[in-house]
């Protein structure tokens, strides 16, 4: 399971860099990748459950759906950024802490570029899962059956 989750980011999106293996090993060992995946799976799920089953406004338009997508995007982006920061730059993994603290290693500069990359990837994945969620949820919604189209 861990390998599949790691391969999404490391292989599919090509974020792996052999020169900074400690970061990727820490994300793998300490459950960082699982947190990333849960972020883009669960936040959109909650957002779109609210949209389709709690929001009762009967005149919803396509741009309402789009606006909610933007909100989901921002939430996933922000949450992932926070999780990545915590997992990488504030990691409890002593080897990674030492490598980041070692100014000659280049780990700190590289690590700082990663949260925004993970946030962007997760936001894109969130958009994808949103489309899937929307088509499933609208089938069972009593009000927003016509959205997004």
């Amino acid at each position: 399971m861990k390998d599949i989750l790691a391969s999404i980011y490391e292989t599919m999106f090509g974020l792996y860099n052999q020169a900074y293996d400690l970061i990727f090993t820490a994300l793998y060992n300490d459950g960082g990748y699982l947190k990333f995946v849960l972020t883009w799976l669960l936040i959109p799920l909650v957002c779109w459950l609210l949209f389709y089953y709690i929001w009762r406004y009967p005149y919803g338009r396509w741009w309402h759906w789009l606006l909610w997508l933007v909100v989901t995007f921002i939430l996933v982006f922000g949450t992932t950024w926070g999780v990545a920061n915590s997992e990488i730059l504030s990691s409890s993994n002593q080897d990674l802490i030492d490598a980041i603290a070692d100014t000659e290693s280049g780990y700190e500069a590289y690590a700082q570029t990663l949260p925004i990359k993970y946030a962007t990837i997760n936001s894109i994945l969130a958009v994808g899962i949103t489309i899937i969620y929307s088509f499933i949820m609208k089938q069972f919604s009593k009000v927003q059956t016509h959205l997004p189209f």
Binding site: Y16, Q18, D21, L22, T25, Y28, D95, D98, E104
Partner: protein, 438 residues
């Protein structure tokens, strides 16, 4: 050249039957651990054990047969070296015993090796390093190298070590074919070593040093002797538990203490040596991913797109091995499988962040311009130092001016090497294995 018309080496030394029995106070698979934290724990534990290991007793055996008299005529490097060794700082807290050893073990002649206790004070030894003392103790007409080894080896047990100082020239007696006799004699030596290695992990260190020699050189391969006044090599052979010798007897400290030190060689059992290693990204070319569970498995490997092949480095911790740094940095001492070539071996000056389980002492960079995939094996071979073959001589005719060679020396070292090889479960010091996958 003066050739005395004596029969054999025995006769030339004026041997007579001697019943002086002066034996009075005669007194453990390859485990190269890749990367894991487990290996680190083992190393730490081993280091703690090493720290607790001290030498409790050192027994010195100084050969005092006639062939050694030339070393003790005047103050010289030989005397300095032995005295320095007896005051060796690593032996400060060790009990010491000094013996002169000569004579021949011969059941037919009812003679035996003569072991004479000189004392336990280095000052006493120092006062006895002269020709009259050498002549006074035991039977200087004979020397039995195999028996000397047997005695010295028997004193190397637990935390006790023994040191034998000799010219390492086999006394093969009255033989028409001295080289064949030498081979037979070294078979006995081999057995002595094999027997001792059965029960304990005894290491043997041979140190070659030289000193001014003023006296008769007794030929082993032909009749007669030759008076010489020149430098001649002699040998200090140290026996003891491998861990103990690895810790206390290093080339660095021994070369500083022994005047006119030339070289040293270690013979030891090479199983059960833990050498942590790990593939690293250092100096890498091309791309790859480290497998999450085994850092020595590189996956998604691809050659460099600008045609520089595929390259990575191997971090190795040789600190548990006793060989000099030059040994690890000599490319000829390695064998690399497949199409890979060794580019560089060096000591890393900076910490390597991705190597966390151990502190690497060496970094080896390997490269291939062919397909990088498959299993790679890098082997550190157990190679007998070149000086040993260089020291050997099968001809004593040109002894005048020969300051480097010892007759039949390689027969002795071959015997020791073969005894160790027989006991070793592996023939190489270490094999580092890697898997490179697409």
């Amino acid at each position: 050249m003066i050739f005395l018309s004596c029969g054999s080496r025995d006769e030339r030394l004026g041997r007579v039957k001697n019943n002086q029995h002066a034996d009075k106070p005669v007194i453990d698979s390859e485990k190269n651990i890749p990367d894991s934290g487990k290996s680190y724990q083992i190393i730490t534990q081993s280091s703690t054990e090493n720290q607790q290991q001290t030498i409790s007793k050192v027994t010195f055996f100084i050969e005092n047969s006639g062939s050694m008299l030339g070393y003790v005529k005047k103050a010289n490097d030989y005397k300095n070296a032995i005295v320095s060794l007896s005051y060796f700082p690593e032996f400060d807290n060790s009990k010491k015993e000094f013996y002169f050893v000569n004579g021949k073990s011969n059941t037919i002649k009812e003679s035996n090796i003569c072991l004479n206790f000189i004392g336990s004070d280095p000052e006493l030894l120092k006062n006895n390093l002269n020709q009259s003392s050498f002549n006074k103790y035991g039977d200087p007409k004979y020397s039995d190298l195999t028996k000397m080894f047997e005695k010295a080896l028997s004193c190397a047990k637990g935390n006790e070590i023994s040191i034998l100082v000799s010219d390492c020239i086999y006394d093969v007696g009255e033989e028409s074919d001295p080289l064949t006799a030498l081979k037979i004699e070294t078979e006995k030596t081999k057995k002595v070593f094999r027997d001792r290695l059965k029960t304990e992990n005894i290491q043997t260190i041979i140190i070659k040093a030289e000193s001014q020699f003023e006296g008769n050189y007794y030929f082993a391969s032909k009749k007669g002797s030759q008076s010489i006044n020149q430098k001649r090599p002699y040998y200090i052979i140290i026996f003891g538990d491998s861990k103990l010798l690895n810790k206390h007897i290093t080339e660095e400290n021994i070369s500083k203490k022994i005047s006119a030190y030339l070289s040293m060689a270690r013979f030891m059992k090479i199983d059960n040596i833990i050498i942590p290693y790990q593939a690293t990204n250092q100096n890498s070319k091309g791309t790859f991913k480290f497998d999450k569970s085994n850092k020595n498995k590189l996956i998604n490997a691809e050659k460099d797109r600008s045609g520089q092949g595929f390259q990575f480095s191997i971090a190795i911790d040789y600190s548990s091995l006793p060989f000099p740094d030059a040994y690890y940095k000599t490319k000829d001492n390695y064998q690399l499988s497949g199409t890979y070539k060794m580019l560089d071996i060096y000591t890393p000056t900076k910490k390597i962040p991705d190597v966390t389980a151990f502190n690497p002492t060496h970094l080896i960079t390997i490269n291939t311009s062919s397909s990088p995939y498959g299993n790679i094996e890098l082997t550190l071979k157990y190679i007998i130092p070149f000086w040993i073959t260089e020291t050997n001589s099968d001809n004593e005719s040109d002894i005048i001016g020969d300051t480097k060679h010892t007759f039949g020396f390689q027969y002795l070292t071959n015997a020791i090497t073969e005894a160790y090889q027989y006991k070793n479960k592996q023939q190489n010091i270490a094999t580092f294995k890697f898997e490179i996958l697409k």
